[in-house]
Structure formats: C-alpha cells, structure tokens
C-alpha cells in the first residue's frame, strides 16, 4: 500500500524523510505529523475558498495562505497537493482569478484523496505494530 503512494507520486521522498525520523521514542511520528498537517490544511483550504469568493478580494491574504499551504504540503511530502497549490498560487499572482480557482479545486481534490488514502494506511500500521514499522522498507 505504501509503495502505491510513491508510484502514484502522491507522496515523494520527503515522506521518507519523515519516516526516518521515527524511532522508539516517537513510534508514530509520521502519523502525528500528518494529523497535525491535516488539521491545519483543512482550515486553510476552507479559508482560501472563502476568500476567493469574497468581495472585495484580499489578494495578498490568499497568496499568503497559499504559500503556507505549499510549505507544509511540501514538508510532509504531499507531492501532488503541493504541485497543485503551486499552480494555483502562480495563477493567483498573475491575477487569473478564475484559473486560480479552478486549479485550487484540483488541489483540494488531491488533498482529500491523500487524506482518504492515508487513514487506512496508518490504521494498518498501528495494527501491525512496531515490528511492522521496523521492517517497513525504507
């Protein structure tokens, strides 16, 4: 299952970096980080969507949030999410509101997909236990 993430390029090597950080002290580090990520990202996505429709539009604000989302997505290795966010931001900076909005929807879709796929994955990990984690191919 895990490998599929990489094959589909949903996750990139950065995710592996996170996995490397797991140790006996922090056996569920990756899950913890991802949980934190989704907590913030869900809020940010909602804010962006709202702001994009807002009148008058606060361009810099949306740009800032997009930037932040880009950073955190990149940090966890959410490859596709990051790519879409980057595209959205570029369009937004160019003033292409419609284009940005459309791309943003794509980003949102990728985000939700990732979340949906990771949940069972972590569940599986927890069930497998530390041994499984240790044996997990790096």
């Amino acid at each position: 299952m895990r490998q599929s993430f990489f094959d589909e390029e949903i996750l990139d090597r950065q995710f592996i970096q996170l996995e490397k950080l797991e140790d006996r002290e922090n056996p569920n580090f990756v899950e913890e980080v991802l949980t934190l990520y989704f907590r913030d990202s869900t809020t940010l996505l909602a804010t962006i969507e709202r702001e994009m429709e807002n009148v008058p539009i606060d361009f810099p604000k949306v740009d800032r949030i997009l930037h932040q989302l880009k950073g955190s997505s990149a940090s966890i290795g959410a490859n596709k999410v990051r790519n879409e966010i980057t595209k959205t931001r570029e369009l937004w900076q160019q003033g292409n509101r419609e284009g940005a909005k459309a791309t943003f929807q794509e980003a949102r879709k990728e985000h939700d997909t990732l979340k949906a796929k990771l949940e069972p994955y972590f569940q599986q990990l927890r069930q497998a236990g530390p041994a499984e984690t240790a044996m997990r191919p790096r």
Binding site: Q14, Q17, R64, H67, A74, S75, I76
Partner: protein
C-alpha cells in the same frame, strides 16, 4: 570544527552557555548545539524539531516571531543559532533576522517554500547565513553548526584585527569582563589563547594596519552612531559586524568598528572600575599605542573638524584644537610633570567621586551622558539629548561633548577617546590606556587655545576618574575643577579641593568644566560615570572645553593615537574630567591630570596647561583613560575653559553636580601613565 583549542572557545563565545569561555569544545560538538526554530506552521515546526533532535541538537521551537525575539533577549547566550521561516504573520522573517543580527549577533538561517531568487537574495542581503528551501531535509540541518563556527571565527578575526594588543588585556579582563557579551568573550578567549603572541602580533598588526588602512576618524557623529548601535545591540552582544550594519556608514570597515569597539569596551571597563588593567597591561599597550597615536592625531583633527562642522566648536576653537593637536607632542612632554603634582593636589577625597565604575548607572554614562547638565554654554539642549542617547557610547559623549560645546561633550569626548583607544586591539581594558596618550597630547593643545586648556591637567587626575565610569564625575570634576572649576566639582562628594589648584583659578572655566563634567559624567551613566564630573565641568566652558574636549575625548577613546591631536584635546578634557572623577575616587592621577590642566591654566600659560593636560591625558588615556579619560576629557574640556567661568561659579556648579553624581569610583586606572606614551 574548531578542533583547535580555539574551537572550544569559539563555541563558547558565541553561544554557548554550555561551553564557557576557555573551555575546550566538547567532544560531542556539534551535539548540544542550541537551536531556536521559528515558524508559524505547526507541521513544519514539528518536523524540524524532530529532525534537529535527531541531529542531537537542543531544540526550542517557537511559532511566533515576537515570542522568539523576547526569548532571545531574555537569554542572550541561550542559543547558538536561529532558524526562521520567511513568511510569518506577526513579523516578517527578515525583520526578525535583522533584529537578531543586531541585538544578538547570532547566525540565522532563513527558510521558506519560496525558492525564488529574489527572496533568497533578500536573505543574503539581510544577513542570513543560509537559506533553506522547504521541504527541509535532514542533510541540510545536519551541517548548520558550520554557521556557528564560522561566526565565531569571524568574530575572532575582528578582534584580532582590531587590536590584538588588547587581547592580552582581554585576557586579563576576561574574568572581569564577565559581562562582556559573547563576542567579547570570544575576544577574551582568543586573547587567552594567544595573548602573548597576539599582543605582539597585534601591536604590529595594529601599526601596520593602521599604516595601511586609511585612518578612520571617529567623529562625534560617527561615534554617536557607534554608541547608538552598541546600545541597541547591547554591549554584550555588540559585535563589529552588527554594529557596522547598524551604523550603515559607507566606507567603514568592520575592522574600524572592531578597533573602536575595543576601545570603547576598554573605556567601559575602566568606568566599571576595572582596576587590573590599569596598571600593567596599559603600559604595555601604551607603547604600541603611542605609535598608534599618530592616527589619533588625525583623529583629533578630525574630531575637531567634526566638531567644528557640527557647529559645536567655535571656529576658533577648532583652530585652536588643531593647533594644539599639532603642538601636542611637545606639549605632552612638558606636561607630565606638572600634572602629577597637580594631581596630588587634587587627590582629595576622590573616593567619593568614584562613581561606582560603571555603576553609576544614574550617571547613565552609557545612556546619555548627562553631560549636559548645566552646561550652559555651547551645549545645546538637543545636543545634550543626543548625547544622552548615545550614552552608551561614551565615546559619543565625547564626541558630542565636543560638539556641543564641550559641555556634554567633554564627558563624551573623554569617553570617546577612551573608547577608541580601547578598541584598538580590543578594548584594551584599561590596560591599554595607552590610547590615552594620544589624548594628552591633543589636550594640551586645545587647552591652550582656550586658555583654559591647562585645566586639563588637573584633570589628569580626572582621567583616572574617567576611567571609573562610576567615578563621580562630579567629585572628580570638582577636584579638577579645583582649578577654577573643579572646585565646583565637589560633585558628589568629591571634595575636590577646588581651591587646591592654584593654577586652577585660571581655570575658572574649568570649574565650569567640572560641572559639565559632572553633569556629563552623570549623564554618562555607567559608562561614563566618571564623565559626569566632566559634564559638569563642561558646562561651564563649553567652548574652550570643546576644543580640548575634542582632543581629549578623542584620545581617550581612541587609542588610535593617530588622533593625537584629539588626544590632546581629549586629554585635556579627560584631565578635567578625570580630575573630577579621579578626585572622587581618590585617584590622584586624575587629579594630577586635572591638575595639570589646572596648573596649566593657572600657570597662565595655557600652553603649560595644555601640555600638562595632554600629558595627563596621555597617561590618563593610557590607563584609565580609556574609560575615564573620556570623562576626563570632559573634565579637561571644562578645565579648558576656566577663563569663562569664575571659579566660584564653577565650584558651585560643580558642587551641585557632585551632589547629583554618585560617588563614582574613580576608576581612573591611570596608573600613572606616562604621558610619554601618549605620544603625539
């Protein structure tokens, strides 16, 4: 990393609370490196923290820039390196970067998901030592310790360049300089490491460097800027690089700042009563200093010019000063003797005057040398104000004093000179008073012009006072003022025998000077505590004093001797101030200095006074002048104007001031510098 022994120190210096100065670098370095991570993104923060922990670093995470800044401020030596995000809601990452650089001088790594060239360039120009693109990988974090080491190394270089001569001093001061910031520690560390070698090297280097480099004239304004920068950074954390950045003066090199800083630090040390330095190290330094005085002379000239430019110094004063500066050398020699005598006279209960070195907080030497108290004359209120601001930079004071019209200046100038010399090679803590030497020379001269100049000599005693930041300028000045002004300096308790110096009478202005000095000294606060006396003194006779002051302060702070002329002035100023302060602290020297000045004045031949002053200054400068000299300078400046102020007036003024001034310990560490050292 610094596998060399220095390494250990380096780490200590820059950061580590964990490593004390002088300790060898722990084997596990870079493990234990204290990192502060700032990022508003919780996810990133968590990841970074884990990564850094895996690198065996000590991590503190923070998601608000303001909080991070206050954490850094509260615990200046608590972190070795900072990693900060660029885009944060409460504060721009670059702004945080600037703050940290200026206030704490820690290496800062910027990071962002933004990898645009523009942003990266911004990081570079704002002083970030590295820029990481998110997502940050472990590999990137593993080697961040290199930035810490690099910074230490740079700091070390600064110190070395600025004046290894001081390193020896530094070492001595190491213990004393506990307060010194890490950068200072670095210096100390370095000093200890190669003190001996460095000393020699430094000296040579200094000379050579001075020869090679165009002399930087630490004008009043420049010094003001310097002091402001130092204050902003905090004397502990003020490192040349940051100061340079803060000052933003084109053409000013880090070396310039470093040497100036050393002098300044020495001056501060003096003020705080570092007595150790006074004696020996100074002597050794003095010699090199003397050589360096050459530059001081230029400085004097510059100062004068600066002063003149600022309109502070009356044109004539400037001319006088310059002339004095030129004639300094000669004056110097002649003065030594008389000054000494004079000093004795002044050695009244200086102890009182001693404003606690550095303790004179109230004096605020640092902050704002309230030199301007009462300086009725030239000191313009705003100048005073500015002086106050620069408080820290005693040097500023000196500068300012001079510009102001001697009043506030005097103190400042005294301080300045002191500071400068100090920076030479590193704030020769007191020991390198040698710088002072330059002052004396200059002082003598200016004084002459003013007629008051001589008063400076009595000040010689002051220089000592000056050193003691705390030394009650007042008292000192009083002593110094004895000559005309000094009497007034009964500043806080210094029962300077105002009347003691007969010659002083002529110094009436001196008295004023004392007052000024006193006031100034007060203003100086810790740094300039001794200066205060000067302030008081200065007040009286801003004009003459200014000139003198200029020279004096100049020298005091600059060991760069190059400013000899300035030194002269400063010496005189210092002397004046020194007297007052010295007096208080019982520093005869100061008294002597002052006396000299006074004598000079009294002797009627301004020249004499000037010379005396110079000499005193020189000696003062050398020893305590550093710190004290500044004050003395002020004082002397005051003395310089004896003519203007009546003795009585001065005395009363001084007395008043003295009261206000804390008994500054006359830290004049003038251990009897030989005026000769001051060399022209």
């Amino acid at each position: 990393m610094n596998s060399s022994s220095g390494k250990g120190s380096m780490s200590t210096a820059s950061s580590s609370a964990a490593w004390k100065a002088g300790d060898a670098v722990p084997e596990q370095f870079p493990a234990g490196l204290r990192v502060l991570v700032v990022d508003d993104d919780q996810t990133c923060l968590m990841i970074l923290e884990k990564m850094l922990r895996t690198c065996l670093y000590e991590v503190t995470k923070c998601n608000r820039a303001e909080i991070a800044l206050s954490m850094l401020r509260e615990n200046k030596n608590g972190f070795d390196i900072v990693i900060s995000d660029v885009h944060m809601p409460d504060m721009d990452g670059f702004k945080l970067l600037e703050h940290i650089g200026l206030e704490m001088d820690l290496p800062v790594i910027m990071m962002s998901a933004d990898d645009g060239k523009h942003v990266v360039m911004k990081g570079v120009t704002h002083g970030a030592c590295d820029y990481l693109i998110k997502p940050v990988r472990m590999e990137a974090l593993k080697n961040i310790w290199q930035h810490v080491v690099r910074k230490w190394k740079d700091e070390w270089k600064d110190f070395e360049q600025s004046g290894s001569v001081e390193e020896g001093d530094r070492q001595q001061k190491q213990s004393e300089d506990a307060d010194y910031s890490s950068s200072a520690n670095e210096g100390n560390w370095k000093s200890s490491k190669k003190r001996k070698d460095d000393e020699d090297e430094a000296e040579e280097r200094d000379d050579t460097s001075t020869l090679k480099k165009p002399r930087v004239v630490w004008s009043v304004e420049l010094h003001q800027q310097f002091v402001a920068a130092v204050n902003q950074l905090g004397i502990d954390k003020a490192v040349p690089k940051k100061i340079l950045e803060l000052m933003n003066v084109p053409g000013l090199t880090r070396e310039n700042v470093a040497s100036h800083l050393q002098k300044y630090r020495l001056y501060l040390k003096r003020l705080s009563g570092v007595s150790q330095h006074q004696s020996n190290p100074n002597n050794s330094f003095i010699s090199p200093e003397e050589a360096a005085f050459g530059p001081l002379s230029s400085l004097n000239g510059l100062d004068l010019q600066t002063l003149a430019a600022t309109g502070q110094l009356p044109a004539q004063s400037l001319a006088t000063l310059q002339a004095a500066g030129l004639g300094r050398s000669t004056a110097k020699s002649s003065i030594p003797m008389p000054l000494v005598d004079q000093r004795n006279i002044f050695s009244f209960e200086n102890p009182k005057l001693r404003f606690g070195e550095g303790q004179q907080q109230h004096m605020n030497n640092n902050k704002q040398i309230n030199l301007f108290h009462g300086i009725p004359t030239t000191m313009e209120p705003k100048q005073l104000a500015s002086l106050h601001h620069t408080a820290q930079s005693i040097g500023n004071i000196n500068m300012q004093v001079t510009s102001h019209g001697a009043q506030s200046f005097q103190n400042n100038s005294l301080l300045m000179p002191m500071a400068q010399p100090q920076s030479r090679g590193q704030v020769l803590n007191n020991s390198t008073v040698g710088h002072a030497p330059t002052l004396p020379s200059s002082m003598g001269q200016p004084i002459l012009s003013n007629g008051v100049a001589v008063n400076v000599s009595p000040r010689n005693g002051i220089p000592e006072n000056i050193r003691a930041p705390g030394y009650n300028p007042v008292s000192q000045t009083s002593s110094i003022l004895n000559f005309p002004m000094n009497t007034a300096s009964e500043l806080p308790g210094n029962s300077f025998t105002l009347g003691s110096t007969p010659g002083i009478s002529g110094l009436t202005s001196k008295g004023a000077f004392q007052e000024d000095v006193n006031s100034e000294m007060k203003g100086l606060g810790e740094f300039l505590s001794s200066y205060d006396t000067f302030n008081d003194l200065n007040q009286h006779k801003p004009q003459n004093w200014e000139i003198q002051y200029v020279g004096m302060t100049y020298d005091a702070s600059q060991h760069s001797n190059s400013l000899q002329d300035n030194l002269d002035l400063m010496q005189s100023v210092l002397v004046q101030q020194g007297f007052s302060s010295g007096q208080v602290n019982g520093q005869n020297r100061s008294a002597a200095v002052v006396r000299k000045a006074m004598f000079s004045a009294g002797d009627s031949t301004e020249h004499v006074n000037a010379q005396n002053v110079n000499q005193h200054l020189n000696s003062l400068v050398e020893n305590t002048i550093r710190v004290k000299s500044e004050r003395v300078a002020d004082a002397s400046a005051a003395n310089l104007f004896p003519n203007h102020f009546g003795q009585e007036d001065l005395m009363s003024a001084l007395l008043k001031q003295q009261e206000g001034i804390l008994p500054a310990e006359n830290e004049f560490d003038f251990d009897g510098y030989s005026m000769d050292d001051i060399q022209e």
